[in-house]
Amino acid sequence: SAVISQKPSRDICQRGTSLTIQCQVDSQVTMMFWYRQQPGQSLTLIATANQGSEATYESGFVIDKFPISRPNLTFSTLTVSNMSPEDSSIYLCSVGDTNQPQHFGDGTRLSIL
């Protein structure tokens, strides 16, 4: 399966600032996804990152808060904008294809003070 690298692995940020998380895959993939995992909880899909077009956001997530880029088939970024303590979570990148298992990076652990 693809090797997925996320940067940074963790960060502590001040409220009101923004952080961009990078996801790099070692092979070209059709689909890339961004998830949020709040402390002690399950994973929730934020959006699907589409190469060459705007990301597709799930209910409750908006582009202004979580802008996403997908410049090519091996790379994507997620920005968490104007952060508040409620944004403290693990943010996970995954890759996959229809009816194939998604594979995940190890996530970015974000704490906002």
Binding site: M31, Q41, L43, T98, F104
Partner: protein, 115 residues
């Protein structure tokens, strides 16, 4: 330490025993199911998957059972080892022609293996 799994239901199993982790899924249109294992500080790791045209699939030491009538999925781990201690998530997928695949994750179960 990691906060994943702190508030999740916990299953305690003695080393060497078999483990059964259950999952109720929500959408009768789901046609593909996956079990993931998440260790502290790591992302979810694929264990085994099953399509809706099957009711059982076996891997190495793991078996997944699917009961579509009651929308229930289970993961059986044979001869549980300390390295199996983790949080386990089921995920369901609905295939839509021409659209991206979307996974919906269950709430998760923390498996604790005692010596």
């Amino acid at each position: 330490g990691e906060s994943v799994g702190l508030h999740l239901p916990t299953l305690s199993v003695q080393e060497g025993d078999n483990s059964i982790i259950n999952c109720a899924y929500s959408n009768s249109a789901s046609d593909y199911f996956i079990w993931y294992k998440q260790e502290s500080g790591k992302g979810p790791q694929f264990i085994i998957d099953i399509r809706s045209n099957m009711d059982k699939r076996q891997g190495q030491r793991v078996t997944v059972l699917l009961n579509k009538t009651v929308k229930h999925l289970s993961l059986q781990i044979a001869a549980t080892q300390p390295g199996d201690s983790a949080v386990y998530f089921c995920a369901e997928n609905i295939s839509f022609t021409g659209t991206a695949s979307k996974l919906t994750f269950g709430t998760g179960t923390r498996l604790q293996v005692t010596l």
